[in-house]
Each structure stands twice: as C-alpha cells, then as structure tokens.
Symmetry: C2
Subunit: 188 residues, 2 copies
DNA sequence: CTCGGGAATGTTAGTGACTAACATTCGCAG
DNA sequence: CTGCGAATGTTAGTCACTAACATTCCCGAG
C-alpha cells in the first residue's frame, strides 16, 4: 500500500508538471508513465483515466454530508448554500498550490472543464438525496443543488482565470453571497 | 450541401436509434456509419465526435442573445433568469421527441452527462459577456450564469428521468421560478 | 537467511475513437 | 458530354484504455 501510494503521488506530480509545461493534449500517458519510471498499465491502475489525474477531488463528497447536517426548516436553496460554505470553511488549505494548478488546467481545457461535472454529479446526487429525505420535492432539490454547484464551479473557474491573489475560501464565500443577494432585489 | 444534409440527418437518426436500443457504449462509429450506408470518415465529417451526435444543441446560443436583450437595470441573476425563460418561450416544439430522446440518453450516461457542460460553456460565456458589457462585475456575472444554467440543466435531467407527461417549457418555467423564490425566504 | 505468498508492476496484444493524405465518385453547370 | 468541385471512400496511422498473463518486489514465518 505504501509503495503504491508513493507511485501514485509521483505519477500525479509528473503528470501535472508535463500538462502545465506542454498542454494536456500534447502529453501521452506513455510519457507520464515513463517519466515516472513505470509502465502505462501502472498509470491506469492508479487513475481510471488520463483526465482523472487533473480532476479527482476528494473534497466534493464532504459537501453532501454538510448539506444533510443543515437545519431542515430553512429553504432548500439556503440549506445547500450554507452546507457548501460550511464544508469549505472546515478545510485547511494543505496542497493549495496543487489545487490551484489543477483548477487552472481544468479551466483552460474545454474537455477537462466539461468533465469537472462528473465530480459535481456525485455531489449533486448526495445533496438531492439529503434534501428529498427531509421532504423537499425532487425538482426543487435538483434546482437548488444545480444552482449552487453551478455558481460554485463558475466561481472556481473565475478564481483560476483571474487570480487576484485572494484565497479560495474567500472567493467561494463571496460567490455564494452574491447568489443569495441576487434575488433579494427581485421586483426592483 | 443537400446530399450532405440528408446524410447527416440519416446518421443522426440511425445513431440515436442504436444508442437507445443497445446503449451508447455498445455501438461503434463503424456500425453507425455502415447502417447509414457510409464510411466512418463521413460520420466524422458530419459530427466532430461520437458524443456530439447526442449533445449538439442548436438552441443554446439563442439564450446568450436573449440575456443580452434584457433590461440592464435588473439584478444580474434576474436578467439571466428572464433571458433563459424568454429564449425557451419563443421556441416552438418541433422535434420534441428527438430532444426528449437526446436528453434521456445524456441523462443516463455519466460521460455524456458530463459533456453536456461543453455546450453550456459556450452559452455561459455569451451570458457573462453580455452582463459584463453592461457593467456587471465578472464574478457576479459568472455566478449568475453558472447558477441559472446549473438549475436549468438539473431541471432538464429531472424532466428526462421523472417524466410526468408535462411539457418541457413548463418544467423549465417551474424550475426557474423555484430558483427565484428560493431566496425570498432568506432569514426565515 | 530463505522461502512463500500476495501485492505491485510489466508485457503483449488487442479494441475503438479519431485524424491525415490521398484516391474516387457524384451531381450539376457549361 | 465534360469537366470541376463537393461529398465520400481507402488506408494507415496515433493514442486512450483494457484483459490476460508473466514477472518482480516486499515482508513475515520458519
């Protein structure tokens, strides 16, 4: 398990370096594996796809749990919003630079950018389940989850693209505040 | 141009049939092409990828224009919401059954479902541009676009999955009303 | 130390999406 | 009919990804 874990880390580090240097499409899995001193099979035993090296995100699942923990009497959209904020608030920022690099890679490549949703879908389902379990109608739950994750993802890409030096947590907080504020003015 | 157009239609029809019958992953491009009486090269000259047969959606770009046409004094989120509603309202439902089939296919396949976002990204960019052009800050524009498209996509998948016989336009209207209503109760 | 077994890795030989280069056929205007 | 351009076909690739099987590595029991 330990030897394997080291190999995985090495593959990921090498892959992100090469992708950043030469672009995702101009690096083959063969190259990544060779540079890391293993065969392409070892690569695929550690990552289900080339894209997953950039996209795998262990934080997402936490969000579902955080939403489920919210007070069931708040409106669905607000519970999702608070859950997402809560989940990110309780994260320290360990490999902040790696996260930044991954988001930047994903933001700059249409295919990767699209695949980000493959992660979000799991989270979305978890959230929807948490909401429907407490009586929220399915469509309302879907809309709430979709809207918040849509806003969150847009904020992440915005952060990766226009980096103003601020940290990620702040940006997310600001984005979701905008979402909450956006409709208080309805009817103006 | 006419011979080509007929071929494209035939390829799409055949492909959707085969996908529905046997599942997206169990149909090769070769088969689609042969069944349609052409070579696989002709397939790729008509569609940039196997996935695009299911995903190409000529309606999306309209949304960007509709948002740009909204009154610039409303809040960003509300302008996006009204723009999207407006764009769908002015659609007749021509190939409704084909749209339904495509959304169902996409909803039932993780890879396709993720790629749906490749379409949304173009739309999202158009919307963001329309908003920033009228002075909205970039993050606010991104969040508004992301939230509405996230909600819209969730509603489409919900419609495809739990078909209650209602039509698509109604479902979208209901979803976006929920989004607007969701935050009126903030602070309850 | 050494030997056995299971985990980690390698080799080989595929399948299938997608592309480039070049050859062919088709439809239509002159 | 003829010739030109668009549409299509052939061929021969590259690359992501997989299955089956062979090999090596680590580690603890004897």
């Amino acid at each position: 398990m330990s030897r394997s874990h080291a190999t995985r880390q090495r593959l990921q580090r090498v892959a992100l370096e090469l992708f950043t240097e030469r672009g995702f499409d101009n690096v083959t899995v063969e190259e990544i594996a060779n540079t890391a001193g293993v065969s392409h099979m070892t690569f695929f035993r550690n990552f289900p796809s080339k894209e997953s090296v950039v996209l795998d995100d262990p934080y997402d699942p936490l969000v579902g749990a955080a939403v489920a923990a919210q007070d069931g009497r708040s409106p669905a959209l607000e519970r999702v919003r608070r859950g997402v904020l809560g989940a990110f608030a309780q994260l320290d920022e360990p490999e902040d630079e790696m996260v930044r690099q991954k988001i930047r890679l994903a933001a700059g490549h249409p295919g990767l950018r699209a695949r980000v949703w493959e992660n979000n879908l799991r989270t979305e389902e978890t959230i929807v389940t948490a909401l429907t379990d407490s009586g929220t109608p399915h469509l309302e739950a879907s809309v709430a989850a979709g809207a918040v994750l849509g806003a969150l993802t847009a904020a992440l890409f915005d952060w990766a693209t226009n980096d103003d030096g601020g940290n990620l947590g702040e940006r997310i907080t600001r984005a979701l505040d905008l979402l909450a504020a956006g409709h208080r003015l309805v009817g103006t």
